[in-house]
Symmetry: C2
Subunit: 690 residues, 2 copies
């Protein structure tokens, strides 16, 4: 889609003249630093370097557009950041584990080591992010979704935020599985920041500047965030499709795939180079049997698991909404969360760590595992609860170790884990630290699926006369489906299904995993309750229409006429210099509407602000007073809205047409105009009403 | 997005009154068949049955919307059709093979058996489809893409077409690997027909009728077509995203996934029930080694393969465009293809079959294999050309049999296959039969990849001192990547990458396959040449804007004002019955624009045709003559276009807003209107210009 203003500008003579003039002044501006600033040192070498760089730009530009280098750089950079983060977190976790092991024998010291380490980390990251950049807390996906819908929020894309979020996230993740938070959401947010920065860089380098590149880069960044976090390109692209508010433009599809593939490839290459893996393979590679992954009848069990996950997700979302409401209304919480963020984070982390202390309740919930180890153990393809019938494969019983270390049956252990982690997870979501909420839900779903799988194996084992053929049932498959279904239901998306497959490399379970995710989604979406991210958006009063729709379904069909701001400044066709001067002084819009006369108010078109300034300059030099339409070109308007159009329609048209200003007319008469900042105000007003 | 007309209708009193009246008449219409037609037999049982059906509808409607049953039914039906087709084709192919084996010893009879069987099938299917429904020939994807862009083409969705295409396709596929055509495209087309039929059924059953459901069903149908053809749901959805002209609406995403999963699940369950497979698994399940699927350095070879496939695709597309042009300009071909379709098809099939006769050139190109066997053999993970080093795995050398049956080395065999199949494939594309062109390209790509893989193995084998560690290279992986890359490059899409993974269930090769497909696409798209389907669209002069754009890049930026049709009939506010009567007689639009007066032409809004008819009825009964605005409600217009908007923008707004009529105004004055039929005319005119 071509930019309307460019097209209309190049068609009319006046417009093209102006553009040429602008280009000339721009060109002279480009040359000036070398020629006109004699005080700058090393003019000769600088000129040579600049020449070389221009040559390089030409060479690069000959292969493909400059934006493609930007996409590749985004993927590679994000993979590097993700790998660096993993490395840092692993080191910090190992240090904690080493200290804890060294204190073996002294329970009190072990308790302090177990609890104070994550508490301190959380307190530090919380204070740090609060003081450096308060926008860096939370997952960031609600904000990214809002930005993808076209609303500009520059403070969420600053480099300070990037720095704070990156360091804060390492600390949060290093607090380990006691705090139990993830990294997907923040990585998507980080990716948006890097993408925004790269797109600015690209548009600096490119000759022809296009302002829409930033929006394109954000869409790509959403895909890259997921892809570089797990090395999963396809689910990254699907996530990008899902995260869009209403329409996914087909022209974004190839850049998304390209950048996500670059990210995933680099991420996996890093793990090869670091010696973690022998070749490029899935992050949580499993060894499910491929000859008979599951019996056809198990499809019914997978469907049941999907419904179960849907029900659990409703419960979890309700708790989450309740605690969001509670922290906003309870005076103690309000005080803690506004002024004493560090203290609050420390306290919550201490509480969570105390509960998971391995000599206390932690022994029943495998608390010694890191999040990664938890997931690996849950995806294990061996049966834990029916050991008599497959004793031969128990030559390496390591993954079971933690789940049965306390001596209680594995079912009870899993059930206890699920029960405790539910409230712990809801509580952890209130922590004012940079953190993702996807991975914990994913692991929780895996535990839920595993429990069902183990129960099924147990039931079939006990009645073995009828179930002789079922001995090869794989509880890991249920864990995989459960993980995808629960995380899909909580976020109201389907990409977790593919993510589960890409994470494990198990394509054999694709259909049951998809089925479970679809059913869980169907249950979670029934009743039009907000998803996890919708609830966060509503709670933060973000101007994101699809989320607001969940809270008030009638909202998007509010007529634009009801929410339009004050009537814009307008000029009549025959305006003289005084009227123009007045409008230039009072209005800040770049496009000023021109009407037939102030009486009829029939909209004729618009003039650009720069042209008005030129008109004023002309009128100062010339003695004969001229009218506006004699000097300036009145550009024809693009699409016109009516006041009866809904807010949703206005937003869709802004997104699709890519226009900067939409005029609203009724019966030919101008009644208002809609720009992106205006739309942001409208949506913020609507959000405040809820 | 809500339908504009409904919203505006329900807001104004006049509109809602009308609607109520319509609803009442509808309700009475629903009841009437039982109450007012005393001549119908068995009134009592019919009433009971109807009561039960209404009850059932209520029960079903309580669970979820009626359209979801439609999506499920679409998936299941398409899987059934696809399975039935496979079954029929297998029977016919087996019969041919049986006859050929029985004639062993008599080369002449074998030759006739080998050549006449496919010739007759092609001749029959060609004549059959020409006589019953000429729209059923070809792949159907260009037409589906056009329909997805909003253009209505009812003759492509008729039940006759469904029937013809289904039977014709079975015959084409039964002609086997000599004619070498596939079934994906036609299955997508069949799916659209079934989807259209189901959406009509759904809107009959539903209480509240919405006309946009048909468009939604078409998007879903595109995904289901691919999903039910191969049991590959995710690539079906990606295909659906790619096949859209400019924007993929997010609300289609869940239905697409749901229906595609239903289709894939049913398709695989059918193969379990029929005894083909023990459980639900990939169609072309492979046994690639999972511990070390490929060495990290092989990534470079995969990238090279991608570029190679891109180059070959350019060559193939050039040949295809040439033959499309040739068949349209050469008088002999024109005559054959217009009047003697059966003869032409028979002749071409005979030629192709003669070349592939196993006692002639066929022995060097494994012509005894069916398309399915070809693909399975090419995806084999064992090395063919370096037998000395892995003799142990050659206990079952069956897949090699055909490729080396003539005694020549496997490289030469593969190279000969590639050389011959290129022109044969291009020739086969001219056959006027229902056929898909995707699968042959996929297999061709697999052969290309296999050739590269075998060459690499051979080179490394000969210099074994340096390549000792490379013995476990898997040429099947190259075949997989080549298949995805070539088919992706030819169609300018990326979904074949995921299709290749879903077909084989080999997630271990996901990243190299994606990389190869991306590079092949980049090479194929450079130079803005049309893709395979674009070339077909252009050749058929279909009103599909993205294809036309490939032929003439300036086309979408033609201003709407230049291509608008005649000025529409309009009414002035104060129109009397005569003027209204005149407009009702001359105009066929459903929405008649109302202007201030014929002099000023300021657009006020529109009235519906039904309201005008009512106005006329009123004016007949009443004595006092009234003006239009006193009786009818003038509905406010929705989005207005300017004549300077481009065709592309007008089309995008039509798609996004979902409006039936867009008015074009300049400075408040009406200059034209754009409806879907009008847009179709505009695009057809543009296509004719090329």
């Amino acid at each position: 889609m071509t930019n309307l203003h460019e097209v209309s500008g190049s068609e009319t003579d006046g417009g093209s003249n102006n553009q040429e003039r602008e280009n000339q002044s721009e060109a002279s501006h480009n040359k000036s630093p070398l020629l006109s600033d004699p005080w700058k040192p090393c003019r000769q070498p600088r000129a040579i370097v600049k020449e070389c760089l221009l040559q390089l730009r030409c060479c690069l530009g000959a292969v493909c557009g400059m934006e493609w280098y930007g996409y590749a750089a985004l993927g590679i950079l994000m993979a590097f950041l993700s790998f660096l983060m993993d490395l840092g977190v692993t080191k910090l976790l190992t240090a904690h584990q080493w200290l804890y092991t060294k204190l073996e024998g002294n329970s009190l010291l072990q308790f302090f080591c177990w609890t104070l380490y994550p508490s301190c980390l959380c307190a530090v990251t919380s204070s740090f992010s609060h003081n450096i950049c308060p926008f860096s807390t939370g997952s960031g996906i609600p904000e990214v979704r809002t930005m993808l819908a076209g609303i500009e929020m520059p403070h969420y894309l600053s480099l300070t935020n990037l720095f704070t979020k990156f360091l804060g996230l390492i600390c949060t993740l290093a607090a380990g599985s006691t705090v139990f938070l993830g990294k997907v959401g923040p990585l998507v947010h980080l990716s948006s920041m890097v993408g925004d920065y790269l797109s600015k860089l690209c548009s600096l380098i490119r000759d022809n500047k296009k302002d829409k590149a930033a929006g394109e880069m954000l869409v790509v960044a959403a895909a890259v965030g997921v892809a570089s976090c797990f090395g999963a390109p396809v689910s990254g692209v699907l996530f990008s499709v899902e995260v869009m508010s209403s329409h996914f433009a087909r022209r974004h599809y190839l850049p998304c795939f390209f950048s996500a593939t670059c990210g995933a490839l680099t991420f996996r290459l890093f793990s090869v180079w670091s010696g973690d893996a022998e070749t490029l393979q899935a992050l949580f590679k499993t060894d499910f049997p491929t000859s008979l992954p599951f019996y056809p009848l198990e499809i019914l069990l997978f469907a049941f698991l999907g419904l179960l996950c849907g029900a659990v997700s409703c419960c979890y979302l309700a708790c989450h909404r309740w605690i969001l409401q509670f922290t906003k209304t309870n005076p103690v919480f309000i005080k803690l969360l506004t002024s004493e963020k560090g203290l609050y984070s420390g306290m919550v982390a201490f509480l969570l760590a105390s509960v998971t202390f391995p000599h206390f309740a932690g022994q029943y919930m495998a608390s010694k595992y890191t999040t990664k180890q938890l997931l690996t153990s849950l995806l294990d393809s061996r049966q834990w609860s029916c050991q008599s019938h497959n004793a031969s494969v128990h030559s390496e019983p390591e993954p079971l170790l933690e789940w049965t270390s306390s001596g209680i049956p594995v079912h009870l252990s899993l059930a206890f884990f699920l029960l405790m982690k539910m409230w712990m997870l809801v509580l952890a979501c209130t922590l004012p630290v940079p953190a993702g909420y996807f991975m914990p839900v994913f692991v929780y779903g895996a535990a839920l699926g595993r429990l069902l799988g183990e129960v099924v194996v147990r039931v079939l084992c006990s009645g073995m006369t009828s179930g002789q053929q079922w001995v090869s049932i794989n509880p890991g498959g249920y864990a995989l489906a459960g993980a995808a279904a629960l995380s899909g239901a909580v976020t109201h998306t389907l990409s977790p299904a593919l993510l589960a497959i890409e994470l494990t490399g198990q394509f054999s379970h694709a259909v049951p995993v998809l089925l479970a995710t679809l059913l869980a989604n169907a249950l979670a979406r029934s009743g039009h309750r907000p998803s996890f991210y919708d609830a966060l958006s509503i709670s933060k009063r973000l101007p994101h229409l699809p989320s607001l729709k969940k809270a008030c379904p009638w909202l998007p069909s509010t007529p634009v006429g009801q929410v339009l701001g004050a009537k814009p400044e307008q000029l009549q066709k025959a305006a003289g210099p005084e009227e123009v001067q007045h409008v230039v002084n009072t209005s800040s819009e770049t496009q000023i509407p021109v009407v037939d006369s102030h009486e009829t108010q029939i909209l004729l078109g618009f003039v650009r602000r720069s042209e008005l300034l030129m008109f004023l300059r002309h009128s100062q030099t010339e003695t004969l007073e001229k009218h506006l339409d004699e000097v300036c070109c009145i550009h024809p308007t693009s699409v016109l809205l009516s006041p009866h159009n809904t807010v949703q329609e206005a937003l869709n048209i802004l997104i699709v047409v890519g226009a900067q200003t939409l005029f609203v007319t009724e019966r030919g008469r101008l009644v208002g105009l809609i720009t992106w900042p205006e739309m942001k105000n409208i949506l913020e007003d609507l959000a405040a009403e809820i």
